[in-house]
């Protein structure tokens, strides 16, 4: 009985979401999201990526529940470099710290870096690219030449230079990565703006007396955001790898913080005899990167099919 009513209830919600004549702004918006979700759900690989990312976020949020915070930094020198056991699921590192706890808490550092870089890169990219594409002329020339200058540097080298100049640490790693990541976003936003600049709905908004700022924010940004978000998701792997690379070179998070790249670095002297010390955090970096890539691919597919 309850199963039947539940199913009827779900059917009711489904119908409400897919209603061709929504009764409110929210219903229209949710219906749109739901349709995109239906398309996304059919893509197996994308769902795998979504699952991985969701899992990662879950682990980061509930880290204190699934691992011991103390164990992540607690040095037990009598238990150095132990293989996996019931006590230490992934073994211990060269200072006797539990690798499982370190990997779990390391997800927080990785996600923090990713979130902070995104929070800097998207506004900066849009802030440079939108005016360049929208106003054209001198504004475009100046902004794009600045972008070209930043694009001309090799990414990791520039990040290294910044991290070395500013001093090692997570905040400086974030700034260094963000500085080298934004230029492609500016170009993308400019290209997306250029294709819409002459659209009739922009002219209609102009005729209605909309200011440039209003046109940019309400008309152009919503059209640029999907491709920017997809690009960002696909770039996540690169950002995570750059962060890990900086950590590996000692320019990212400082010990004893359980940063994945730094963990790989510390395990490299014992790679042959105690392989798990470097391999386990390496696997974490790998799985996370693949997960974000699959998610990005899936999002791209969904947005393509919706364009028709």
């Amino acid at each position: 009985m309850s199963d039947v009513t539940l199913r009827a209830d779900l059917g009711h919600w489904r119908g409400w979401l897919l209603d061709q004549a929504p009764g409110s702004r929210w219903q229209a918006r949710l219906g749109r999201w739901y349709r995109a979700w239906l398309g996304f759900r059919r893509n197996g690989l994308a769902m795998t990526g979504f699952g991985v990312v969701l899992l990662l976020v879950g682990i980061a949020i509930f880290a204190p529940l699934i691992a011991d915070r103390e164990a992540a930094t607690l040095q037990v020198l009598t238990q150095r470099l132990e293989p996996a056991s019931w006590q230490h699921w992934f073994g211990t590192d060269e200072l006797g710290r539990d690798i499982y706890a370190r990997v779990v808490f390391g997800s927080r550092i990785t996600l923090t870096i990713v979130a902070l870089v995104s929070a800097i890169v998207v506004p900066v990219g849009l802030g440079i690219g939108l005016p360049a594409g929208y106003f054209g002329g001198m504004v475009d020339a100046v902004l794009m030449r600045i972008t070209d200058i930043f694009l001309a540097f090799p990414r990791l080298v520039l990040a290294l230079a910044f991290a070395a100049a500013l001093g090692p640490g997570i905040e400086n790693a974030v700034i260094a990565i963000a500085l080298t990541t934004w230029p492609p976003y500016a170009r993308l936003a400019r290209a997306e703006t250029l294709t819409r600049r002459r659209a009739e709905f922009i002219e209609a908004a102009e005729l209605q007396g909309a200011s440039h700022l209003r046109i940019l924010l309400t008309q152009i940004v919503p059209l640029c955001l999907p491709s920017v978000i997809i690009r960002l998701t696909l770039d996540m792997a690169g950002i995570i790898l750059t962060a890990a690379g900086l950590g590996f070179l000692g320019l990212g998070a400082q010990p004893p913080a359980p940063e994945w790249g730094a963990m790989v670095s510390s395990g490299r002297q014992v790679l042959l005899d105690q392989w798990w010390v470097a391999t386990i955090p390496g696997m974490a970096i790998f799985i996370t990167s693949v997960g974000f890539n699959l998610l990005g691919d899936g999002l791209r597919d969904v947005s393509d099919s919706r364009a028709g």
Binding site: P22, G23, A204, L207, Q208, G209
Partner: protein, 259 residues
């Protein structure tokens, strides 16, 4: 209401300079509907866009409701002149619901009471509550053009510019939109300036008609004159013939080669 004096629009510079409209002068009185007709590339849309203020570098004088238009238009002037575009698929933002599209002009001009205004505007163009929260891709071409008309009218403009408002629609829908425009013009006392290549559409809505070719206004005539065929300029006569469509009686039998 609309006065154009020697309006010229040129694109490009030097040897590649193209005169899209040259020395166009016309006058439209309040409440009148004036049609500009011509082939593609005749400059009729250019004139319309210059009146709308979408072409900033237009030369000559443009006077709307007694105000001379400068290069930059104030928000208040924008409110007075609104336009309906040719392509209802391109003139509505694809990611916004009808409600959002219609609410924006109300917000820009701080008219207030957006909810009631949007509902009224939709009712006026013959759309119901069920269309209000749809996205443009969930509407037919005719419904989209109605939304575009509602967007123009929600600001209660005195001048409505129409850029081939029916040419992207199929014939049965064309008639509906034309009747809607006729009714709205009567109800609101709108002054209309319409551009079309279709003489029948122009003659349906407009009393006075200007014929354009190669950027020049060749002849000023009336819908009645077009209907009775009493036009003077040879180009207008030719246009009139070409618009009659396929008429078997007009085929010159002698010209067909004998079998």
């Amino acid at each position: 209401m609309i006065t154009l004096e020697n309006v010229s629009v040129a694109y490009g510079t030097g040897a590649r300079r193209v005169l899209a409209a040259s020395d166009v002068s016309l006058h439209v009185t309040p409440g009148e509907a004036f049609g500009l007709v011509g082939e593609s590339g005749s400059g009729k849309s250019t004139v319309l866009r210059a009146v709308a203020g979408l072409i900033a570098h237009a030369e000559g004088r443009i006077v709307l409701a007694g105000q001379e238009m400068g290069r930059r238009r104030s928000t208040a002037t924008r409110k007075m002149v609104q336009m309906v575009f040719q392509d209802p698929y391109g003139s509505l933002h694809p990611n916004q619901t009808v409600d959002q599209i219609l609410s924006m002009p109300v917000a820009i001009h701080r008219l207030g009471d957006a909810d009631r205004r949007v509902a009224t505007a939709l009712r006026e163009v013959g759309l119901g509550r069920e269309h209000r929260f749809r996205y443009p891709h969930q509407l037919s071409g005719g419904q989209r053009q109605r939304v575009a008309i509602a967007r123009a009218l929600i600001l209660q403009p005195r001048i409505l510019l129409l850029d081939e408002p029916t040419s992207a629609l199929d014939v049965s829908v064309q008639a509906e939109i034309l009747n809607l425009l006729t009714r709205l013009r009567r109800d609101h006392g709108l002054t209309m300036l319409m551009v079309s290549h279709d003489l029948a559409v122009i003659a349906h809505l407009c009393e006075r008609i200007g014929v354009m070719s190669r950027g020049e206004l060749l002849e000023l005539t009336t819908a009645d004159a077009l209907a009775s065929g009493t036009v003077t300029h040879p180009y207008t006569k030719q246009l009139l013939r070409s618009n009659q469509g396929f008429d078997p009686s007009s085929v010159d039998i002698d010209a067909t080669p004998a079998a």
